[in-house]
Structures are given as C-alpha cells and as structure tokens.
Amino acid sequence: MAYKVKLDMFEGPFDLLVYLIENSEMNIYDIQVALITKQYLEHIEKIKALDVAVATEFMVLAAVLIEIKSKMLLPRFKPEGELGFEDDPRAELVEKILEYKKFKQAAELLDRQEEYNQSIFEKPKEDLTRYTREPDEYLNLDINQFAVAFTLFLNKKKRVEEIKKNYSRVERQKLSIEDKIKQIFKFIKEKAHKKITFNELLGEDDGKYEKIVTFMSVLEMIRLRAIHVNQTITFGDITISMNEEKRRGSHDK
C-alpha cells in the first residue's frame, strides 16, 4: 500500500526525476547523475512490483539517465576560456526537466484557480417554458438560391413555350371545320339519314376546342342549307337532319 501511495505521487518519469533532484537538494544545472540514476532505478523497481506496464513507461528515461551517466565518465573537451556546458551530456536533460517543471507549476496554478472557483456558484437556468412562444420563422435566403431558382424558371418557361408551339400546330391540323363537316356527313350517312342529335357528334374525350369546332361546323352546314336543326327547349339537345331537297338536288345533278 505504501508503494501504491508512492506510485500515485508521480505523474510520470519527469515528475519522479524532479522529485528526486529536489529531494536531494541538488542544483538542477549540476545534477549528480550517478546518484540520481541509482535512486531512479530503485523507484522503478518498486513501481514494477505494482504495475509492470506503468514501470515500462519509466524505463525510457532510465535508459537516458544511464547513457548520460556513462558519458559523464569520459573526459570532456572544453575549450580554454570558454564557460558553459554546451557539450555537457546533461544539457538536453536539464532543458527537458525545466520545460516539464514549467508546466508542473502551471498545473499548480490551475489547481489553485480551480479551488478558488469552487467558492463561486452559478444558478440553474429558470424554467423557460413560461417565456417560450411559437418559434419565430427565420428565413434562410441567399442570392445564389434566388439566382438558381430564377434561372431554372427561365429555362423551364422557354421549354414550355417550345412545347406549346408544337402542340398548337398539331391541334390545328387535326381539327379544321372542313374536316369536321366531312366527318358529320359520314356519321349521318352511317345512321341511314335518320335524325341525329348534336350530342351524338361529340366524342367523350372532346375538349372545349373540339366542341367549338363541331358547333361551328354545324353552323356552317346550316348556312350551306345542308341540314335542318331543331331545338325544342332552351339548352336542350339539338336535333339534326339532312336537308333532303338539297341532297336530292345534288343527286340530280
């Protein structure tokens, strides 16, 4: 359990290293690598006993320490009159420790700030349903959408107009008064010259245009005295019969 406490204390390899350096009151710029490496490895042994996986994470730094320790044993070249330890094997490590310490201190600052903030309280949102009204409609419009719509419309209109042009030409060819008169004569002949009604002349699918053409044809036939028409009631059906005199006359010719 004591180990567990120790393990929890260190957040990572640098944390442990910083602890060891500070604990032995060493100058960070003059780390006694041999001593620190020994202590560091001892701690890893303890950690390993608890959690091998975690210990592995500490091993990388252990290897670095051992390497530095061995380099320290070699004589170092240091030019006359020059200070500093640019070629000090510890230089890179020191830099990393300082960088880590910086953030460790920033973490402490956040810790204090968090603690202070815990004495400040917010209040929950009020029940807003009593203030809520029907949603406001917010119109999403942009000029591109507008342009697309209008262009589509113009194209569509052009196409519709082309179709209409063709359609009306077909219609005119199909339904001339002359043709209709021929049709009516043929129909009366088929009915053996008996009286027929106007309604019989109309097909079920006839549109307004066909009806008008039929009516116009009948009027034309009256004008030519080819037929007699009779309507007994207003808006009633119209009966149509051939003008026999005219027919005979034409036959006589």
Partner: protein, 193 residues
C-alpha cells in the same frame, strides 16, 4: 460581529443559490442576529434594487425573500427564449419573388401569365413574410394591385438598393450549367411543368 455590509452581501448570495423564497428567520439564525434586523436588511436590499431600476428585483412573500426578474422586462425575456426556426422558400415562392423583384411593380395577373399558373397563395405567403408588399394599383381594367419587394427583402440578400440585383444575363452566365442540371436531376429543387 459580522458587518451589516457583509451580511447583506451574504443574503444576496444566499437568495441567489437558494432559488426558492428564503425565510428571514433561517437567514438571521445563520448570523446569530435578531430576525427583525435581518428583515430590515432584506427590506433595504429590496429598496436598493427597486430604486436602481435593476433587472433583478427582490420579492417578499410573508417574510420570505427571493430574487425575481423585473416585470418590465418580460417582453425581452420572451424574445430571448423564443426559438428561431429556419425556413426556406419553396421553388414556387422563389420564382414568384424573382418575377416581382425583376418586373416590379407588377400585378398578380402578369405574374400568373408569366408562370402560367395561379399564385394567390404564394403571394399571400410572401406578403406575410414581409418580402413583398402592395405598392399601388395599376390603371388597367379592375385596377389590380401592384406588387413590389420590401426593404426586408433587400436586407435578406444584403442589398442596399434593388439596383444591386444581379443582371439576368449575369445570373445565367454566373450559373454553372452542370450544377444546374445536377440540381434538377437530383430533384433538389422540385419543378412542376
């Protein structure tokens, strides 16, 4: 002995976190003071908020005190709490809007003859949305209503004046034809023929 200023400040904090009406006696007990003194402090606070016309007010209910919002501000709170719903115009509405925008002032009859389809509903909808408005009456038979676009229409498109509407030729030019066909094919814009 805690100062009056401290106690009053504490009362404010306490009312705030408590939410429900706070009993003067409970508050007084916490500071070991007479409840009548505590009551006076609450009344002083209440008057301060009142006199300053703050958006927060203190309401007393039978010796219980509670922060509430100033009744004058209900309208603003409602505005804050009212959700906004995004709405898009239908293809039909966009067409009618485009015709009005480009041909204004224009009668319903003219719009219908361009589109070949009735558009009373659409015009009604656009009017409600404050995008178009009646701008007068034509001199034609029956003196039909003339429609035009509104300032709100300009704002929606970020225009300053109606002159900023893109040139019709420009629209056609700026539109990538492939894009258009794609839109039509994927049916992103429904069109009726």
């Amino acid at each position: 002995m805690t100062s009056k200023k401290t106690i009053k400040s504490a009362f404010e904090s306490m009312m705030f976190v408590w939410g429900e009406p706070l009993d003067v006696r409970v508050a007084a007990e916490l500071f070991n003071i007479n409840w009548k003194d505590a009551y006076d402090y609450f009344i002083e606070l209440k008057e301060e908020y009142e006199q300053e016309g703050r958006g927060l007010q203190i309401r007393e209910t039978n010796k219980n005190f509670q922060f509430v919002t100033n009744a004058d501000n209900v309208e603003y709170i409602e505005r804050l709490c009212t959700p906004v719903k995004e709405k898009r115009l239908t293809q039909q509405a966009l067409e009618v809007l485009a015709i009005i925008a480009y041909k204004q002032p224009v009668t319903k009859g003219e719009i219908e003859s361009i589109r070949g389809i009735k558009c009373d509903r659409v015009i009604e909808g656009l009017t409600k949305k404050d995008l178009i408005v009646e701008v007068g009456r034509s001199n034609g038979i029956g003196r039909p209503i003339l429609y035009g676009t509104t300032d709100s229409f300009l704002r929606h498109f970020g225009f300053t004046t109606i002159k900023e509407l893109p040139d019709i030729e420009d629209i056609a030019g700026a539109m990538n034809l492939d894009d258009l066909e794609e839109i039509v094919e994927t049916g992103q814009l429904a069109i009726e023929f």
